[in-house]
């Protein structure tokens, strides 16, 4: 036992020593790394079909509590591919570029009209890029957006992250799309991904996110304005904070609808999908009014809201149908309803442009708020 344990000890320590020599290559301290927080991709100016990659790097600052603003460094480089540009950027800095904390991918709006497969490949293939990174479209260019440092940004917090995923602000105008969702819905048949559009104001002191972009197959894109974004987001992602203003007969009512439920059915006529019946249930309270309200008349206001909002939803659905885009994933749902051998997707593709929508809206106001 004695001799054996000694041999074991010797062997183990030799092996550990050997590996310690080898391990030197993987060991890298945290202060020798640069944390890329946002990556921006624009079309290249000098290289044809190339990309311009901009990195926003969060620089750790000595005493975080004392510094008033976060400090960022920006790196830009053009390359034929995203990977190549990043490889080149690695030679521009003295530390390792660490993509593990890269949580937002900002893509120039123009690029989204091309084939996305190429640069999406880079992000999925690399093991260290988070699949839960947010993907956004940028207007006018990714670089401009990246370089915005909002006034409200606190040190050691990055406003690009707080916009999405309900980390900081929560608003039905902000669509959150993770990289894996974007990839999944982009490649799958029967659903189209939606990306938020990031804009900035004139002085580049604010980031504004309230529009979105539907990305179709074959490079077709469609912008949704803020209102449509709000409807899409609250219906599909159940985003909270939905409010709606009714204007009728001089009555202004602002409804805060915090519960939104939606489900739909696809009805078929024979082998052909013919109608989508959508049930929407919203409930909430009255948030603002220019006249005194009576609780007895709540059902009346319900009715008002129902009619008005049904119109809005129908408008959104028809707008999407016209462009043959399907961010709701109706096609996917239809595919799931039939055995694959019946090729339901083909039938769907033919039928979708002419399909009917039947929207059944139900609004339930729980109270008139704190005052009548």
């Amino acid at each position: 036992m004695e001799a054996a344990s000694r041999i074991k000890l010797v062997v183990l320590s030799i092996l550990l020593l050997c590996s310690s020599i080898l391990s030197a290559c993987a060991f890298k301290d945290i202060d020798r790394r640069l944390f890329v927080s946002v990556i921006g991709i624009d079309p290249a100016e000098k290289i044809e079909n190339g990309f311009k990659v901009t990195l926003k790097i969060a620089i750790p600052f000595g005493a975080i509590k004392q510094s008033s603003r976060p400090t960022f460094a920006y790196l830009s480089e053009e390359g034929e591919t995203v990977g190549e540009a990043i490889r080149m950027l690695e030679t521009h800095v003295d530390k390792v570029l660490e993509l593990g904390h890269m949580k937002t991918i900002v893509i120039n709006e123009e690029l989204l009209k091309d084939d996305l497969e190429e640069f999406m490949n880079f992000f999925v293939r690399r093991g260290d890029v988070q699949m839960i990174a947010y993907v956004t479209a940028a207007r006018p260019s990714a670089e401009t957006i990246l370089k915005v440092e909002p006034n409200t940004e606190a040190p050691a917090s990055i406003s690009f992250f707080n916009f999405f995923g309900e980390t900081g602000t929560e608003s039905p105008f902000i669509v959150t799309t993770y990289l894996f969702e974007f990839r999944r819905d982009y490649f799958a048949k029967g659903i189209d991904p939606v990306l938020p559009i990031m804009e900035t104001n004139k002085d580049h002191t604010e980031l504004i996110v309230n529009k979105s972009l539907v990305i179709g197959k074959k490079g077709k894109t469609l912008e949704l304005d803020s209102i449509m974004t709000k409807y899409y987001n609250s219906l599909v992602h159940k985003a909270s904070g939905f409010s709606y203003k009714i204007q009728q007969d001089g009555l202004h009512l602002l409804l805060n609808l915090d519960v939104v439920k939606m489900h739909y059915k696809i009805l078929s006529e024979g082998e052909r999908p013919s109608k989508i019946v959508m049930h929407i249930m919203k409930s909430g309270v009255v948030g603002e009014s220019n006249k005194p309200l009576s609780p007895k008349k709540l059902s009346e206001y319900d009715k008002l809201a129902e009619d008005a909002m049904t119109k809005k939803v129908r408008h959104l659905l028809l707008y999407l149908q016209e462009e043959n885009l399907d961010p709701f994933g109706f096609g996917l749902r239809y595919r799931a309803s039939k055995l694959h051998s019946a090729d339901p997707y083909k039938a769907w593709e033919e039928a979708y442009p002419e399909i009917d929508f039947d929207i059944i809206m139900k609004v339930e106001l729980k109270s008139t708020g704190v005052t009548e």
Binding site: S19, V124, Y178, A336, L339
Partner: protein, 373 residues
């Protein structure tokens, strides 16, 4: 059924949720993955049943002992060698898989050999351990880890980004005929019971399977296969997943723990499954070493009453692992994994066959007790 048998079965199921099995199944998603899984479930659970029933007659005896007693050595030696190789290779494959995983996702700059040595030293310790201590630690680690595994899996099930429509689309492919490779891949997670061939020596009571146990295993197996195949589709998308090397890792990276200590789910997931996989590999190699020990051992290596035979085998394991994995590519890993899965029917036949031989041998011995002494 004995608690430890459950552990062996469960451990193998949980570990195989992650790497090769879902990859092969998802590759077959247009070619009969669902029917294959159903078929595999039936075959796998019945196989459990048969093995347990056959071992029930020999409480407290391991397969090498039984072979030694009842089967002529010219039959038993090749069987032992074949089994030892199978078990070694099973362990080898999981080390290879996790080496690639770690290199890809956790420590990309680290050399392959170092990653291998992370496992290999401690696994060797596990090989040298007393068998009952190993069972004890399996119990301990499994009981501590299972709640976390259940939390992780339930988080994957309940996350808002999970799109069930893709799962439903996948279900529309349930009218395809089963495929051989998919069936064998789906059987593999259900075969944890085979470790009984060594561990039976330390498991004394309740080596039996009744209706209740049958259904428990059936349910657990069904849940395992369902999770393994369908859940990644909800995150990666149906028809998009074929070119993904590690569907489950991508899936685990698609979940965000908003208020968790660690935001990225993937790290907890990787480390927990790494630990369980390590444990399973330790079991495999422990069995392989025990089999090799009864295949061949020399008295020359017993120095000062200390048996150095296991050390020789461990060094052999090391050499094969370091050279093998060092030269392997990910593609080869999946290829060999497939070959390994595909040869499972042979394995099943040999195992059941040898148990039958033992049964016959034992009967003969009963009839001629004079000769046996």
């Amino acid at each position: 059924m004995n608690r430890f048998l459950y552990y062996l079965i469960l451990l193998n199921m949980v570990v195989n949720i992650v790497v090769e099995v879902p990859k092969i199944l998802i590759d077959h998603s247009h070619r009969g993955a669902i029917t294959s899984m159903l078929l595999a479930l039936v075959i796998g659970v019945s196989f459990n049943w048969i093995v347990i029933k056959l071992f029930k007659e020999h409480p407290g005896r391991s397969l090498p002992e039984l072979l030694h007693d009842y089967v002529p050595s010219w039959i038993s030696k090749p069987i032992l060698l074949y089994f030892a190789f199978t078990w070694f290779f099973a362990g080898f494959l999981s080390i290879a898989a996790f080496t690639f995983l770690l290199k890809r996702f956790l420590t990309p700059e680290m050399s392959t050999y170092i990653i291998i040595s992370t496992f290999v030293f401690l696994i060797s310790y596990g090989i040298l351990m007393k068998t009952q201590s190993l069972l004890n630690s399996v119990e301990l680690i499994l009981v501590l880890n299972l709640p976390i595994v259940i939390f992780l899996i339930s988080k994957v099930y309940s996350d808002r980004s999970m799109e069930w429509d893709y799962v439903k689309v996948a279900l529309t492919y349930s009218n395809n005929p089963p495929d051989y490779s998919a069936v064998t891949a789906a059987i593999y997670p259900l075969l944890g019971i085979v470790n009984i061939i060594i561990f039976n020596r330390h498991i004394l009571e309740k080596v039996d399977m009744r209706m209740k146990q049958f259904f428990i295993i059936l349910l657990a197996g069904a849940a395992t296969l369902f999770t393994s195949y369908f859940i990644p589709l909800g995150y990666i998308g149906f028809g998009v997943s074929e070119n993904v090397q590690y569907p489950w890792i991508l899936t685990s990276d698609s979940i965000r723990l908003k208020y968790g200590l660690i935001e990225r789910f993937i790290f907890i997931f990787l480390l927990i499954f790494l630990s369980l996989s390590f444990l399973n590999t330790t079991i495999h190699w422990h069995v392989a070493q025990k089999l090799l020990d009864s295949f061949h051992r020399t008295k020359k290596l017993i120095i000062n009453e200390k048996d150095y035979n296991p050390y020789v085998w461990i060094v052999v394991f090391w050499v094969i692992t370091f050279i093998g994995i060092g030269r392997m590519t990910e593609y080869q890993l999946f290829l060999y994994g497939k070959y390994f899965f595909n040869q499972q029917p042979l394995f099943a036949v040999v195992l059941i066959g040898s148990l039958m031989l033992i049964k016959r041998g034992a009967k003969k011995k009963w009839k001629q007790p004079a000769e046996s002494n």
